[in-house]
């Protein structure tokens, strides 16, 4: 797979992007630092990491809901990191995002049918009447009955809402779909259905996925490639089939922390250790994982380790591996 895709131009590329937030009391928080990632057409790449590692910030920068402090975001061959006004509005014809909480994506006073047509109407693809017709097709596409057209958001379940959100996102046929924890707010059974739907849509509509998540089981199911983030940095990149081959100490820890339904030994003794990210991890010079790393060396404290290719399609940012 990698051999096939690596020859092509990436459809989405993050080049050294950083985002620094300034808190009210003047402190600087480096949410993302020097992240590099290439996503190839038709691929599904997952960004995983614990809460606060900056993965949602990356998603919001890629969709330009916020602007990166530094770096370039290349989508379909052009830099989108400085777009404004009409250019920014047109960007959303190529890239769309599905948010985590389906309940908050709907204005409580807009019917499902109207909501589905919004993208088509405001991007100037169709008039309102055509969009209403198209909305019925979209509902069918996400396996929902057309009766839902006149319903209000509060009359639908979380799973139904998320399907509607997905339908709206794909309605304008974007090239890239960002899924920011798109299934985390749903019940496990519903989660599986929505995932199956997403995978079907990806094939049918030839979408490229960037999936943000923390649930490794979900991520493995939907992604071809996984990028692991820690404290604003991408620390390892590998194929989702090769998770067991993870080399970076943080990825290994992350994998250990996953519960398994089949593995009963985990239930007897749960190894508890401080997995929380050091508060000032992003501010430290050198590798942010150093305070927690069992294999930390002297050189980890001076320079930030860069991603290094270990084998084709597998890169890690750690001098010890």
């Amino acid at each position: 797979m990698e051999q096939m895709t690596d020859n092509r131009q990436p459809i989405l590329e993050l080049r050294h992007i950083s985002k620094t937030f300034r808190t009210d009391d003047g402190r600087e928080v480096r949410a993302v630092r020097d992240a590099n990632l290439a996503v190839y057409p038709g691929e599904s790449v997952a960004l995983v990491g614990e809460s606060g590692c900056g993965k949602s910030t990356v998603a919001r920068m890629v969709t330009r809901l916020i602007s990166p402090t530094e770096g370039e975001i290349i989508l379909c061959g052009r830099d989108i990191s400085k777009l404004e006004g009409k250019g920014l509005r047109d960007l959303y014809r190529d890239i769309q995002m599905v948010f985590q909480d389906p309940y908050s994506v709907f204005s409580p006073r807009m019917s499902v049918g109207t909501f589905l047509g919004e993208g088509l109407v405001h991007h100037g693809i169709m008039n309102r009447a055509q969009a209403t017709e198209e909305a019925k097709t979209l509902l069918a596409l996400v396996e929902l009955p057309t009766e839902l057209m006149d319903r209000m958001p509060h009359q639908l379940s979380g799973g139904q809402l998320q399907r509607v959100v997905v339908a709206r996102a794909v309605s304008i046929r974007p090239k890239v779909l960002l899924l920011d924890e798109a299934t985390s707010a749903l019940d496990v059974s519903v989660q599986k259905q929505v995932l199956a739907l997403l995978m079907r849509l990806r094939k049918e509509l030839e979408l490229t996925f960037v999936f943000i998540g923390h649930d490794l089981a979900v991520v493995r199911a939907i992604a071809d490639r996984i990028a692991v983030m820690y404290a604003g940095m991408i620390v390892e990149e590998l194929g989702s089939e090769d998770l067991t081959k993870a080399r970076h100490p943080y990825t290994q820890r992350l994998l250990e922390s996953v519960f398994s339904v089949h593995d009963r030994t985990n239930q007897k003794v749960i190894r508890v250790e401080d997995m929380s990210m050091a508060v000032n991890a992003n501010a430290l010079p050198g590798c942010p994982f150093r305070p927690r790393c069992p294999r930390a060396m002297d050189e980890c404290g001076t320079a930030c380790p860069a991603l290094r290719e270990l084998e084709p399609g597998h890169r890690a940012a750690c001098p010890a591996v």
């Binding site: 995002m97 948010f99 994506v105 006073r109 807009m110 991007h123 509060h154």
Partner: protein
């Protein structure tokens, strides 16, 4: 839209107040046909009579048909009140949206300006303005509008500030909406129901302000009938003919109550999550039986 219409038609409480409000609006409009007599014609043979066939509610101290004056009075009072609210709500909502949505310097400027206007006592300000500009219907409306937009502005600003944080605004942006559309399609529809309550409460407040101004001779000019002015005229005869203050007073109260209740039930209809539960009715019934 059809969703709300259906919901409204199914809500007996709303339909009742809606019909009553329509009647209250129609009465002044249809005044020439409804009023039994000319409201400004003096009948010196019948001064201060309490009741007669020609004058169902009697006459006032200079022999004018009191019922006709009440009917025609709505023309001045309700017209002024509706225009004042329309103007002040428009100004307030516009400035509130600008301040809340744009933030930054615009927000600071508008907020400070609002604070300055609020700092001056409203009635005093209106009296001063009308005195300078000269008493006339137009000037009264203008003066009242100029001081009463502040509440709308503050409430709108606060609501917009919190609503613009919503994910659905970001979703709207992805759906390709321009800033104006984000405001008009996603923010305003969610601000408006809250303002509705403010507007309906304002009807009562404005009717009272107006009667205060009329008392000072700064609103309607005699002999044009206006409820507030009728009220103040009647005060002199409180003991000999209490109906002269009772009737206009009750008219104002009736108007205020009905428009308030209409606003309340309209807000419930516009809230998609609000569905009247049967249990409420059952509780009410129980309560009525107990008392």
């Amino acid at each position: 839209m059809s969703y709300y219409v259906k919901k409204a038609l199914r809500d007996p409480q709303f339909m009742l107040f809606f019909c009553l409000a329509v009647i209250l609006i129609l009465i002044p409009i249809l005044a020439p046909w409804l009023a039994p007599n000319d409201p400004i014609e003096n009948d010196y043979a019948n001064l201060m009579i309490a009741h007669s066939d020609k004058y169902p509610l009697g006459t006032d101290q200079i022999g004018r048909c009191f019922l006709s004056r009440l009917i025609y009075g709505g023309r001045t009072s309700m017209l002024i009140v509706f225009i004042v609210i329309a103007i002040s709500a428009s100004i307030g909502i516009l400035l509130g949206v600008l301040a809340g949505y744009l933030g930054g310097k615009t927000d600071t400027f508008i907020t400070r300006f609002t604070d300055i206007v609020i700092a001056v006592p409203q009635t005093v300000f209106v009296i001063a303005l009308v005195s300078v500009m000269g008493p006339s219907l137009r000037n009264t409306i203008l003066a009242m509008s100029l001081v009463s937009w502040t509440e709308y502005c503050r409430v709108t600003r606060a609501l917009v500030l919190s609503l613009k944080q919503n994910t659905y605004v970001e979703e709207g942006r992805m759906a390709g909406m321009r800033e104006m559309r984000l405001v008009s399609r996603l923010i305003l529809p969610n601000v408006f129901p809250h303002l509705l309550v403010l507007i309906t409460q304002d009807i009562g407040a404005k009717l009272l302000t107006l009667s205060g101004l009329s008392l000072l001779g700064l609103a309607s000019q005699p002999p044009t009938p206006e409820w507030g002015y009728m009220l103040s005229e009647g005060r002199q005869f409180m003991q000999s003919a209490p109906r002269l203050i009772f009737l206009p007073g009750m008219t104002i109260v009736l108007n205020v109550i009905i428009f308030n209740l209409l606003g309340d039930s309209l807000r419930d209809i516009l809230d998609p999550r609000f569905i009247k539960k049967k249990t409420h009715r059952r509780q009410l019934k129980q309560w009525l039986e107990n008392t």
